[in-house]
Assembly symmetry: C2
Homo-oligomer: 167 residues x 2
Amino acid sequence: MAKKPKLLSDMFHDTLKDVYFAENKILKTLPKMAKAAHSKELKAAFVKHERETRGHVKRLQDIFKILGKPARAKTCDAIMGITKEGAEIMTDYKGMPALDAGLLAAGQAVEHYEMSRYGTLRTWAEELGMKDAAALLDATLKEEKATDAALTTLAKSVVNVEAEHEL
Amino acid sequence: MAKKPKLLSDMFHDTLKDVYFAENKILKTLPKMAKAAHSKELKAAFVKHERETRGHVKRLQDIFKILGKPARAKTCDAIMGITKEGAEIMTDYKGMPALDAGLLAAGQAVEHYEMSRYGTLRTWAEELGMKDAAALLDATLKEEKATDAALTTLAKSVVNVEAEHEL
């Protein structure tokens, strides 16, 4: 295979495919987390974020269109690892008082991965002069940050008190 | 195996082992990233963070001591996935202009994972009334945030301009 120089535009496209995979994986994972959660507030937070995530997938499809490329996913090992840890929590702490605390932590690990990726993609879109793409990425980044902040508030209130209920 | 209720204190201990694994993995990965980076500033940032990471490992050992438990690692699938993606970048973009942009993105994904874990552990330490542990976790969290901010600054200046040099 002849090697042509790989540029920022190539990396942007590669990373877009990575995040497209991640968002679709998250879309499958959120209903399981909502079902597993004990706290009503936490259930509601996961359901709300599932709805937002559908919008994030749509925005990514719009950016593929801007690039003139088909919307394709590329396996994202990071999200596979992060969601595997979340799945382990659901198994190991099933029916246990600390389950919700673990689900919150898993949710925040997902949010932080996304915040890192959307921050990177937005910066690259700006560097590449892709203003519309940068605006779409920025809109999603803001929602991921808001979700993370909402989970932090929940983590400090309802859930952890319940988690030590039996101490 | 008889099931005893798993509480927040159990989850804190489990997550401590997870982060202990992650920090040790990062300690092995940072020298490779420093070696691969083209930009002097980026090399320096990775070297600086390697030094800080040694301190983070030490702090985690101190927290294991507070718990009266041996410092043990538990495989962290999340960091395995995140660093695998970083390793792929180093292979796929070796000698390419966009390599540094990719290394920066990989570094920021690592930082965000750590920020999420340390934020969670600090909150749990506070809930559990472990003030000394919370202070140690907070100190590391602040360094991870500062590293992430430094990488963001680098991403917006030197590196991305170079990455499109051949366009």
